[in-house]
Symmetry: C2
Subunit: 290 residues, 2 copies
C-alpha cells in the first residue's frame, strides 16, 4: 500500500498525463479550425411533406455524377418526382416513378464512378484491420483503400445512384440512401454520390413498401412527393443550410476515434470494445450560426 | 488457344467442380434438416396498432432474463405499456413509461448477463478477422468470442434489456431493438435477450422522438400502445407464429456465408467484397406451413 501511495505521489509531483477524453469532451474541446464548412455548391436540399433532407455531394469521388446531379437540380428536374421504394434495413430510393421523364440537359448515362485512384487522396486510416480493405476517412468521408484504388463505403446515411443491369446505366436521376446496417456488398457496385447530412429521419421513418420483395411502393398513393430538390446556391440566403463537418485530418479526429473505441469514458458504459468499425463512426456534423 | 481448349476438355472429361452458388441458390438447395424450428416457449408476440412483432428469446445467453421476461409475459405485464423511445439509427425502446408499474412476480433486478463462458458453446466462426474479437454464429446467433468469454453482438435486429446507471439495474421489463447500424459499443454493456424475427418494420418506421437527444417521445400522445405481449405457448394454435431459422452448423450455412461474400454470383453485382462482416449477414428465417 505504501508503495502504491508513493507512486501516486510521484505522478502528482511530475505531472499526470491528461485524462483520456470521452466523445463529448472531444467535441467540446474542438477548435473552429477542426471543422470545415460544407460548400453550398455541394449541398442539395430536398423538400418532402415531413420536412427537408439535406445531402452533401462528394465530387472527389464522383465528379461526373456530382456535375450531372447539379445540372438536374438546376433544371428542377427532381421537382414532382417521388420516393418509390423503402426497403427495410436497406434503402430508401427516389426519382421518376415512370422512368420516362426526359432528362433535359442531363446525361442519359454516365461512366460508373465505383472507385478512384488512391494516389493523391487524403486518407486517415482507422486503427485495426478490416476484411474489406484498409478503412478510414478521406476528408471526412468513410473510405476503403485496396490495391491502389479507393472507394466510398456504403455506410448509413450514404447516398448512391441507382442503376439497372449494366454498370453504366445510371445518370444520377435515381438516388437511394442507406437506411440500415451498412450493405457493404454494394461497395463498388453502385456509385456513391454523397450522404445525408440533415433530415435523415424523413427517409427512415416512412412505411416500408411491399412490392417485388424490394420494398417498392406498389400504388401511386403510397409514393411520397418531392416538392423540390435544389442546390443550396439557388436558395435565398435565409433558407440555406449552414453546416460544418469535423475534419478527419486533425488531432481532434484522432481523439474522437479513440473515444468512440473507449466508450467507458462516457459514464454509463462498463465495458470497452477497444475498437470501432468504419460504419459505426461518423464525422460529426453541426449547424453554424448564419 | 489450343492449350486452353485442351485444358477445358480435360475438365469436362474428369468432371468440373460444381459452380459456386449464389445466396438464392443456397436457400433453394437447402434440406429440411438445415433448418431448426423456433420453439414457441422462446417466442414472444407483441401486438402493436400496425401489426405483430415476433421476438425470439436467447436463453443460451441470457437465461435469467429469458425466465423473467417469460414470467412478465405470462402475467400480461407488458399489456398497456408503450413504445417510449425511437432514436434515429439506434434503438426503439418500450416498457412502462412511468417506470412505476409494479413488477408482479417478476424480479426487481437481475444479475447482468453481458457475456458467458465460451466453453461448451456451439460456434461457427466467420472467415476473416474483426477488431471486436473472433466473430461468428452460435446456434444462428451473431456472437463474439474473446479470452474465453462469449457474447451476443448488437446487430440489427437484436433485442436488449434497458438498464439505468448500475449494471444490474434492468429486470427485462424495458426492452429495446437495434434499428440501425450495429451499435457495437453496446456489446457487453447491456444484456441482449433475443432478436426480432418478424414485424421489424413496425419498430423502424415509427416517428423519431425528440426528447433529451435520445429519441424520447415527449408526450403521451406520441407513445405507441402495446395491446398485448404474449408467449407463443399462450396463444391459440391458429395464432402462433411457425418459424424456422437456418442452422449455422451446417454445410448449407458455410455455402450461404460464402455466397454473401461473393455477391457477383447473384447477377447485377459486378464487384465482390470477398468478405462479409458479422452484422451484414443474418441467419435466414422462414415461415412454415402449419
Amino acid at each position: 500500500m505504501k508503495r502504491l501511495l508513493s507512486m501516486a505521489m510521484m505522478v502528482l509531483a511530475v505531472g499526470a498525463a491528461p485524462k483520456p477524453m470521452g466523445t463529448g469532451d472531444v467535441l467540446r474541446a474542438s477548435k473552429p479550425s477542426d471543422w470545415r464548412a460544407i460548400a453550398p455548391d455541394n449541398l442539395l436540399v430536398m423538400t418532402l411533406p415531413a420536412g427537408r433532407v439535406v445531402i452533401e455531394l462528394a465530387p472527389q469521388f464522383a465528379p461526373l455524377h456530382a456535375a450531372n446531379i447539379r445540372m438536374l437540380a438546376r433544371e428542377h428536374w427532381f421537382d414532382g418526382t417521388t420516393i418509390n421504394r423503402v426497403q427495410e434495413n436497406y434503402v430508401t430510393q427516389w426519382g421518376d416513378a415512370t422512368e420516362k421523364k426526359p432528362l433535359g440537359s442531363g446525361a442519359k448515362t454516365l461512366t460508373p464512378e465505383f472507385d478512384r485512384a488512391a494516389a493523391g487522396m487524403p486518407f486517415t486510416p482507422l486503427p485495426g484491420t478490416s476484411g474489406y480493405g484498409r478503412e478510414g476517412f478521406s476528408d471526412s468521408w468513410p473510405t476503403v483503400e485496396k490495391n491502389g484504388r479507393a472507394w466510398l463505403a456504403h455506410c448509413y446515411p450514404m447516398v448512391g445512384a441507382g442503376r439497372n443491369d449494366t454498370a453504366d446505366s445510371g445518370p444520377g436521376s435515381e438516388l437511394y440512401a442507406v437506411i440500415g446496417q451498412a450493405p457493404r456488398h454494394l461497395d463498388r457496385n453502385a456509385t456513391l454520390i454523397g450522404r445525408v447530412v440533415q433530415g435523415m429521419e424523413h427517409l427512415t421513418s416512412l412505411p416500408r413498401g411491399t412490392g417485388d420483395g424490394l420494398g417498392m411502393y406498389e400504388t401511386a398513393a403510397e409514393r411520397v412527393p418531392i416538392a423540390a430538390l435544389r442546390l443550396a446556391t439557388e436558395l435565398p440566403e435565409a433558407e440555406r443550410p449552414h453546416l460544418e463537418v469535423l475534419r478527419t485530418d486533425t488531432p481532434a479526429w484522432a481523439a474522437y476515434v479513440d473515444a468512440r473505441a473507449h466508450r467507458s469514458r462516457d459514464g454509463w458504459f462498463v465495458a470497452d470494445a477497444g475498437f470501432v468499425d468504419l460504419c459505426n463512426i461518423r464525422a460529426p456534423i453541426r449547424e453554424t450560426k448564419r
